[in-house]
Assembly symmetry: D2
Homo-oligomer: 337 residues x 4
């Protein structure tokens, strides 16, 4: 961390900054220039809040040199993380394909979806049992009943399963039925839930918040890891911008940035990002081409009848075609499904 003083900051102001730094067990390195004095901060900065220094009169700004996340940081863990599940793994060798309906609706629906995506080559089954919906009057999911159906579908097909949880209660139920849990965009900074996910120790996929910077996202992953769970992967699913032609704006450059900053695997969800089924295949190819470790794709046996997000779901023949098209890009990326 570097503290840049204002041009007119006097010695007393500089001394105050130094004493705060030293009182927090760190060392201050002064550099008095003609225009301005700069103070380097050396030592363990995790205990000192940056804003604490910013509030001292005479301080112009604070520049961070090192990131606040440690466990998620590639500098301290250069090898890419591999999350091992019973029947597949997520990491540098695979291209994980999580496919399935937005919401579990019935035994018939989830079984048909599971068999179909398995046959086409998917490596995991996705399905929502707890749905965070904008309006309280929209369908909120089958909850535990949905999880049981997910488990049944996973057992029959041999697909590992992933399901979103939206509360501690949902988490406590979900760990009994599914292989991996998902924290959705709206809960990315629900820090209390992240801590519980840390304690739960189940593999987790953390989706990016609608307005979360990459730095905030990695700090959210750090909440889970600092509480004991290092089986974390990230999922880019679009950010909110002014453009309304797509539901969100898929930020594929975020995949490139993440690959430089973290060892955690990165999944891309083109279905939620675009909200349009016709864009799922081209955006998926693009995601694989720029380094993603996997894709999350909505597939529904009968999209026009889907209880949520039908407009963005592929049907089973479309998904079969999708898997054929993705295969070449997967090979080019040096990966296998």
């Amino acid at each position: 961390m570097i503290v840049v003083m204002k041009p007119r900051a006097d010695e007393a102001a500089v001394n105050q900054v130094v004493s705060v730094i030293e009182a927090n067990g760190m060392y201050a390195h002064l550099s008095a220039g003609k225009e301005v004095t700069i103070i380097g901060v050396v030592g363990d900065k995790t205990k000192l809040d940056k804003r604490f220094l910013q509030a001292i009169p005479g301080v112009e700004k604070i520049v961070n040199i090192t990131e606040s996340y440690k466990l998620a940081n590639i500098s301290f863990h250069p090898e890419p993380t591999k999350i091992a599940l019973a029947n597949t793994s997520i990491g540098p060798e695979n291209l994980t394909i999580m496919a399935g309906p937005c919401a579990v609706e019935s035994e018939e629906q989830i079984m048909e979806a599971a068999r179909g995506v398995k046959a086409a080559g998917a490596t995991m089954l996705r399905g929502g049992a707890f749905k965070p919906r904008t309006s309280p009057y929209s369908f909120q999911g089958l909850e535990e009943e949905g999880l049981k159906l997910m488990q049944m579908a996973g057992k029959e097909t041999g697909l590992n399963t992933i399901c979103e949880v939206t509360s501690l209660k949902a988490l406590e139920i979900a760990v009994n039925y599914v292989d991996m849990i998902q924290i959705g965009a709206r809960n990315m900074q629900n820090f209390e839930l992240l801590k519980e996910v840390g304690h739960a120790g189940i593999p987790v996929m953390l989706k990016r918040g609608l307005a979360a910077t990459i730095d905030e996202w990695l700090n959210a992953a750090e909440y889970i890891m600092a509480n004991g769970n290092e089986q974390v992967c990230l999922c880019e699913r679009g950010i909110r911008t002014f453009e309304t032609a797509t539901r969100n704006t898929l930020d594929l450059a975020a995949v490139c940035v993440l690959k430089e900053k973290t060892h955690l695997p990165v999944i891309v969800d083109p279905s939620h990002a675009s909200g349009v089924r016709r864009y799922v295949a081209p955006l998926s190819k693009a995601a694989v081409a720029c380094g993603a470790d996997g894709l999350m794709v909505e597939v529904h046996p009968n999209p026009p009848c889907a209880l949520s997000d039908g407009q963005q779901s592929l049907d089973l023949p479309e998904f079969e075609q999708f898997m054929k098209e993705i295969k070449t890009f997967t090979i080019l990326a040096g990966r296998v499904f």
Copy 2:
């Protein structure tokens, strides 16, 4: 709701839309134009997901005519809501001033802050005991100990108190100590927590999410109200944009929009919105001038030593001056503190 069909949609597509509408207990009103067929949907639409219709082939787009929130809607409740607390109320007659430190740090700090803001004319005491912080290594609040100190400070000064809760557990503790709770920006769409707040029945202030539209915000309020708690006020605290000169971009036009759409009181938080103490007074005057029902202002007895957000806190003499400047605008708005 209006369903606009594509120019080339055939009769079968139109019939499919009509049958879905009727199967959901509503009535379809057809209007076949030269270019395009339009289908008006009449009846209780809360059960039917808009995206369900969007997924039918031949559908161009769905246009909402009425809002999805009902209890928060001014159309069904034209009188402005007034939230009555023990010693003050929030609503059309008052200008509520919630003042105090970002975080409760010690008995000495909160007592000094409470006495100071009370003397200057504040109507409520704010203070954080559960702090949602970007990094897991930052100060997270005193939790229950902090709430006890808030209660003590409230009792001595006669100020009603407000404190943020970040989980069901925090909520269950907080209702024993404070008069009102706050749901922060990061939890605005933590729907499970909103439902619990609905059941808890304690007055609540719901802050706007960093990237939440006004419509999503009112639907979040609807979650609380639909679960039994109508004592809700809203708090505009800035949205995330590309501009970095201020922490967030305060959207004061949102106050004007809310006054047309809802009967719930609207508070403005210029401290978190701007992140700069020098902008708190001018933005507060602006908020009152355009119709806000109150202000949430960070005040700390010793800002340079604040454990969080010192840079944006007023000290006590500054707050005293602030209250003098705000008084005239309050009178002009036909309100009292």
Copy 3:
């Protein structure tokens, strides 16, 4: 400027940075810390592009300490600028009210508007003759004919006039007819036009671009000033965000930021920012309350028949009422119309 080196940057990298700095006539001040080496750059930095240094291997980042604009900078010109027109002035003593139709449509329309806004107390007449419209098929303005009508209306009423120009040709015509020109949001970074406006020497109002940071905006003003024209005022008119309840998001905190960074007057345009006539009065009061030097308000004798932007225009009785409501806020701000 400060150059922060990467943790592993070696001496050769540091020497390369130093030699580039010295080759550009500046002085490098080294500070070799334990973690990292920091290089302060002292001297005239206007000749050296920051990105030139960023490209050197071993450089982590460049931190600007001083702004790139000089003539617009309050540090070098602490007194607020006052733009003197024939019959009024724009600056710290006045609250400038620029009122009139979005577009000049006919002699009858502009004369009725001019007489009406004059009678109600406006200090300047606005009206568009060159309209930058999203679609090439929309009404593009009366051009020179419109300017003649503006001049006629200005003469009869004694109001100074302002009109947008969208090209060098339009500028060359406009200087013959109006007292002040406006550069619209879409041309804020039309640098060639800004240079020409610098040479033209006519007072100018520079609107903020839809996605322009405050820093970019002040640099755009610097283009005009560095080319010889210091009679510049700025106009905040809303920025583009994800929120669609208003046309743009009015950034009133920008007024506070500008008052700390520049001596140039700041006007606020609530009509274009919100796009809704009912929000014009509350947002105008808010703008005055937080320090604006003036307002630009759309007024049309017959809004439903306006050829552009009728939805956001006040009619004449509404504007009369508006001026009454604004008066108290103007007095409170220590200003006169």
Copy 4:
């Protein structure tokens, strides 16, 4: 276009809307529902401003059914456009590679760049002679001298050339030296320049504005086409969002959207979008994978010495490697360089 009336709009309001529609030579199709009256507008709507109708009391909203651009619209021109240059063409069969330095700096630099990118397989030479720079004190380009050097480099290597123009004057000069011109992001809505480009008849690449919606972008292309020039291609170069890890946010879904809405070729510029040379290759592969017709890539013989944007430029060996990596994706896309 559909006019949706407010629930309480009376017959007089409906009649006013109808009479305005008919007075503009169109036909109004009424549909009086239980809740609300809807009025379909049939006929040539290019003469009627939507906002004109919006301002009529009783009107709730206007819904566009058809786009305002016609010449750029794929509905009226289903075949993809192919722009034929002397030595190459831009369109569905090729993958156009425009490579070269951000700015032309010297004969030596541009000749070395041209020879290098030609040898590696580029199909066009890019280079800036008129640079739109944020600060008036930054290097603004060699102007006509730079264009002469571009022409020389194009002749020697057989590469067709493209150069940005920023004013009518620059356009008039450029048409004498280069094969194609570029309108940059900051001038995307400089409508007067777009009209002149329409008259000039030279092939043009129109970059997306920093905060331009896809709809506004296509309307900007329509300005050029409606003024007589149909040799237009579009260039996605990132939009401005809250994320600062990359210079802009590359919106690759925009390529998918454009392919459904327009017949014009779409180029992607990963260099300006990301601002980081290491992200250029992965984002380029992604762009090709999702359907782009070409890439614009910054290449400089000596990036650390580049007078602008060195940080994002590839050097010649890096570009050679880049072309090898892109080749497979080009073949997969069914294209040739």
